[in-house]
Symmetry: C2
Subunit: 344 residues, 2 copies
């Protein structure tokens, strides 16, 4: 078994020596910065290939004032497909510009986020992309002190630390509420979860409630579970919800996964959808189309959100002036899990 340390790294100096030139000349050749003859270039490159030289970016960043190509990206969890898509959008775009993603899973807590920020900053990243607008005091301090470009995503923020990319969650909830009201629903329920940083979901619920009340309805029961926003909590949350409020006409869920759970519960109990109860989700996941019924939901292009976030980061890194507030938008997807017109 070999030791992991004692790396047999080939340094630029070794390449230079083997090629019979100075370190500096080898460096110039490798960077293609000019100032060398074709003959020299060939000598150096021959040794690079021969010795299998790989540049040491640590030294490069460390040396000059040029910043690294690392971008720290914090994501609450990967269990939620929504964030997965955002991450994919970010990493692809970042990668196409020669940047690398340093991942951080914060589990929706300030504490994890703060620890991750501290660590990732010590690696001198070029910038940070953070999910959510809510951060601990010490985090804010570190972020500000770092002087780095920061892109806050997910939750649109009119006064972000630096740049914000996301959607207006309040409005999306509001639109769903207005839609359901327009279909004649008046007695509504909500099932979601609560966390340190789940402000977006809260905003959706607030918008939803506002629209429903504006329309003369009411959100009879709001359930905020201390669990992940996934299938099972949706299932048992619905059970809990309906056990005390049988008269609900329609339930709005924090996301599609939870809505699926609710759908499953209702179907298992022999309830017809949408005849007996309406189901509405949020996020419009690809799996929404798995069902024979199309889930009524709010569509957000999560991939695009990630891509735009990465683009804004690239923009900041290249010194362009970047809009502070970037709205990705959403639209309502009418489905067949709510009734399609006002009952007579």
């Amino acid at each position: 078994m070999e030791k992991p340390n004692k790396s047999n790294k080939v340094s630029l100096a070794e390449v230079a020596q083997a090629a019979g030139v100075s370190k500096m000349t080898a460096s110039r050749v490798l960077r293609g910065s000019g100032g060398y003859s074709e003959k020299t270039r060939k000598k150096v490159m021959a040794q690079v290939d021969l010795l299998g030289y790989l540049p040491n970016r640590l030294a490069t960043v460390f040396s000059g004032e040029k910043n690294s190509t690392f971008v720290g990206v914090s994501i609450p969890e990967l269990g939620n497909e929504v964030f997965t898509q955002v991450l994919e959008g970010i990493d692809r775009k970042l990668g196409s510009f020669g940047h690398q993603t340093v991942l951080g899973l914060t589990q929706h807590t300030h504490e994890e986020e703060e620890n991750w920020i501290r660590t990732v900053l010590s690696w001198q990243p070029a910038g940070l992309i953070l999910t959510g607008r809510s951060h601990s005091i010490r985090s804010l301090e570190m972020l500000r002190n770092s002087g780095l470009p920061i892109v806050e995503i997910w939750d649109l923020n009119s006064s972000p630390l630096d740049v914000s990319v996301g959607i207006n969650h309040f409005d999306s909830g509001f639109e769903m509420g207005r839609y359901l009201i327009s279909l004649g629903y008046r007695s509504l329920g909500y099932v979601g979860t609560s966390h340190d940083t789940a402000n977006a979901a809260t905003a959706r619920l607030d918008g939803f409630t506002k629209a429903v009340e504006d329309g003369g309805g009411s959100v009879r029961r709001q359930l905020c579970l201390h669990d992940t926003a996934s299938f099972y909590p949706g299932f048992y949350g619905t059970e809990q919800l309906l056990s005390t409020s049988q008269d609900l006409e329609c339930v709005f869920y924090q996301n599609d996964s939870m809505a699926f759970g609710g759908l499953q519960f209702c179907t298992a109990r022999g309830m017809r959808i949408p005849e007996d109860i309406g189901i509405a989700g949020w996020g419009d996941l690809p799996i929404a189309s798995v069902l024979h019924k199309r889930l009524t939901s709010i569509h957000v292009s999560h991939l695009k959100l990630g891509q735009v976030a990465a683009e804004k980061m690239i923009g900041r890194l290249s010194g362009e002036s970047v809009a502070t507030c970037n709205d990705i938008g959403f639209h309502l997807m009418p489905g067949s899990t709510v009734r399609s017109n006002i009952p007579v």
Copy 2:
């Protein structure tokens, strides 16, 4: 708009000067390596807090022979929930040991993987976790030259570069084939995709075919689409499959997402499941339970796979001797999308 460069970083030297000690003493205090008085420690720490000093890990790694805390992790794509779970398992475990994930999305191609490997190696990572056992020649060269711990995951490899964590895909396909044969199915079909690095899926198909033929059946039609292994390809792949082979009794899919697509297609065409056709998937995704029918599938603990991969990496980094070949195992999940006993 402030410039992203010109970072007002506080260096150890500044802390030391402010505390009236030498750089080295400040370094010792921060690392807690001993060799300083309590009085000095307080003086230094007071300045650390006051100046908001954050250590520069770049310099640390760059300086000594100690390796970094970065671990490069390559994943083919995040669109597939299977890999998402693996990544979550890796990052959580790695994080709990103070390591960071540098993500690379290879899109199942050798080319992307090779480029990513080159880049990530230039950052002097502590080790690499790669999905798949198939790599380009130049990749292999770089990996070997690096002398770094390498954990290859997903596809169990009896002679890996360094360490392998995964499952035997051939066996999993074989078990599914044998199961379907035991239920009396004889005329079978397969729908999947093909890529540079999708050897695992190929192995599953091989195992499946072997079992089916051993059992006196045959895999009449094998469809390998050039697409992502997701819902829609499953849908139209099934359409294609059934348009030329109406007599298929059961279809095995590369994964659950594709199986869902197939299920959707069949249901839309008015076919009854499992009466008219059987459907079997692979991976046992959480969404498998979204359906009123439970999908017949192969269960693999993807999260655990990721965790074990990270553990093996940690083991290698701390110089422990680590098993070369680590089988995570799988088990067949009988569902209601295939018939439950041999028809009379």
